[in-house]
């Protein structure tokens, strides 16, 4: 079983760097097919090289006007808006999005682990506006021992979602009223959705402790 995904190299850039706009057409394959095939040479790897589409709509302009440098980047990936923000400004930006931009519902809050990156976590907030029927994805980078601001006071929905995020990734949310594990038992060690989490080690320890035998894995 491939249980050590830390070996899995993330794309050379963080994912938002490779964002793409429209549904992808296999354009990249075209030049490869046009080039005369060299005997014995391995076929060139099929890489989709569509550039990320920078997003510059009115919403992004308003956000930039308000928060300046804290809005790092805005892109469009598969027609979905993603705004990369500075983690320390998360609460202010979230509040602005809710009150001024009418993103009244926090749909989801989660994270993605990129262990090779300096700040390994992407914190993702998916927002929805009933008034505009529009979604917005806020993204912030967070380091391993960094505390990120909690959004519970802005969207109470964040309560369990941040607990799950803490449980699975070990991201600590500053200002969360009750930051405990939610899906796993309190005494659980490690955070399973981190890429370097070893499932087998956990299993061996659990079997030994609870069943009193050696795990057959």
């Amino acid at each position: 079983m491939a249980n050590d995904p830390s070996e899995k190299v993330p794309p050379s850039q963080p994912p938002e760097g490779k964002a793409e706009g429209a549904p992808v057409s296999p354009k990249a394959a075209a030049p490869a097919a046009a080039a005369p095939p060299k005997a014995g040479a391995p076929p060139p790897p099929k890489v989709v090289t569509a550039a990320p589409i920078p997003l510059d709509n009115e919403l992004v302009q308003r956000l930039e006007a308000h928060f300046g440098e804290a809005i790092r980047e805005a892109t469009l990936d598969r027609k979905q808006a993603i705004v990369l923000i500075a983690a320390e400004k998360l609460r202010e930006i979230a509040r602005y999005c809710r009150d001024e931009e009418k993103f009244d519902m926090l749909v989801d809050l989660t994270a993605v682990d990129w262990p090779k990156r300096e700040k390994r976590f992407d914190l993702i907030l998916i927002l929805y506006s009933f008034a505009k029927n529009e979604r917005l994805r806020l993204k912030a980078h967070a380091g391993e021992n960094e505390r990120v601001p909690s959004s519970v006071e802005i969207w109470p929905a964040a309560n369990w979602l941040e607990r799950e995020c803490y449980d699975m990734f070990g991201i600590v949310f500053e200002g969360h009223p009750n930051l405990r594990r939610i899906l796993l038992p309190d005494e659980w060690e490690g955070h399973p959705l981190r890429k370097n989490y070893d499932i087998l080690k956990q299993d061996t320890a659990w079997v030994r402790e609870n069943l009193g035998i050696e795990s057959g894995q």
Binding site: M1, A2, N3, P5, K8, P10, P11, P15, E16, K18, A19, E20, P23, V24, S25, K46, V47, V48, A50, D77, R78, Q80, I82, D104, M105, L106, V107, D108, T110, V112, D113, I124, I126, F130, R135, R137, W155, P156, A157, N159, W160, L161, E164, Y166, M168, V172, H176, N178, L179, R180, R181, I182, L183, L184, P185, D186, P192, L193, K195, I199
Partner: protein, 380 residues
């Protein structure tokens, strides 16, 4: 008596109980918790002062599993989340991956998907109605509901060989053509079903005990529902007219006429009425769809090895329980780098505390039932 626990910062939180207060544990083995949900109630006599849901007993690490499977291999796993609405789970996942690939299922596949998903919604609501009524003490509806649900499961079985964890759809479309007589069977079910819903309603809607047990119980205001991220019938019963099938149509929903039932009071009775009406609307969609299923291929050309270009996508559908979303990150390999499931049951369950505070212990059973959770999806 006190109850201590630790929080993330390892400081000890202690709950001090008043003279008449007790802590009562409901579950995880309790017939009315619909699975392994444990609710810790702080009671003042018969009144709930505070509640806490303790979940995770059914956690299988679905999101971690996804990182070690190819896109196609992971598809059957999603059926095991909301296992009473497996078809809806599959639709959400397949459409999300298709979006990531930039592919689209052919029209025929989209219509068949819509029909099966709407049948699944009826089946899911029937299971909810039967068990919810049973919890509150109405014994009869569960037999009727299972009778009709059985007809739907038979259609699924004939279509793809499985009744519950169907794996009915594939990324790019469908694996199976519809069987001979599919249209007639769906049509017969839908035509007969209209009268069946009326039958359920004669048992409950004006039943004094039912009304007494549900009206004014577990009230959730629209503002609270939105703040807590609640979606689906629970949100609509609080007066928010919002349904993803209309707001951001997927599959073939933009081709059909249907209404979004809403109610104002946001109590258990209203959620009951909303779901009853939703079954009628699902039936209406099925009848329209079955009339003209386009001919043509059922599978788009997506290739056998799926390697979506690097990037990410969020796609969500209106599952029977609310907004079911998939956030998938691709790193360009055959396995997803990250799959996040936005589970409607998990997020709706968070509203439980709001709804239960101040109610009687007996009503807790009604409130758990009315949120319509499936623990397989809450815990994943």
């Amino acid at each position: 008596m006190s109850d201590s626990r630790t929080n993330g910062s390892s400081e000890v939180v202690t709950t001090v109980l008043g003279a008449d207060e007790i802590i009562l544990n409901m579950g995880p083995q309790h017939p009315s918790t619909h699975g392994v949900l444990r609710v810790k109630l702080k009671l003042d006599g018969e009144r709930v002062v505070e509640s806490e849901c303790i979940i995770g007993y059914l956690h299988r690490g679905v999101e971690k599993i996804a990182e070690h499977r190819s896109y196609q291999q992971f598809a059957p796993y999603v059926d095991r989340m909301d296992y009473v609405a497996a078809v809806s789970n599959g639709l959400g996942y397949c459409e999300a991956v298709e979006k990531l690939l930039g592919a689209e299922a052919p029209p025929r596949a989209r219509v068949v998907r819509t029909i099966l998903t709407e049948l699944q919604r009826i089946a899911s609501h029937l299971l909810w109605l039967g068990t919810h009524a049973l919890d509150i003490g109405a014994l009869t509806p569960v037999f009727y509901c299972f009778r009709e649900r059985e007809e739907i499961l038979k259609i699924f079985e004939k279509y793809c060989g499985a009744r519950l964890t169907t794996h009915a759809f594939r990324i790019g479309g469908l694996q199976y053509e519809t069987y001979d007589g599919f249209e007639e069977e769906v049509k017969r079910f839908c035509v007969d079903f209209a009268q069946k819903i009326d039958e359920y309603e004669t048992l409950l809607t004006e039943n004094r005990i039912w009304v007494g047990r549900t009206k004014g119980v577990g009230i959730l205001s629209a503002a609270d529902a939105i703040a807590l991220g609640v979606t689906g019938p629970v949100l609509r019963a609080s007066g928010v007219k919002w349904d993803l099938r209309k707001a951001q149509p997927y599959a073939a929903y933009d081709q059909y006429e249907f209404d979004i039932p809403t109610r104002e009071a946001g109590d258990t009775y209203d959620r009951y009425l909303v779901r009853m009406e939703e079954m009628r609307q699902s039936r209406r969609i099925c009848l329209q769809a079955i009339e003209k299923i386009p001919t043509g291929p059922i599978m788009a050309k997506v290739g056998k090895v799926l390697k979506p270009p690097p990037g990410e996508v969020y796609h969500s559908i209106e599952a029977p329980k609310g907004e079911l979303g998939y956030y998938i990150v691709s790193d360009g390999t055959t396995q997803p780098y990250r799959v996040r499931v936005r589970p409607p049951s998990f997020i709706n369950l968070q509203a439980f505390d709001k709804m239960a505070r101040g109610s009687l212990v007996a009503d807790v059973v009604a409130i758990i039932g009315t949120i319509d959770i499936v623990l397989g999806e809450v815990d994943r």
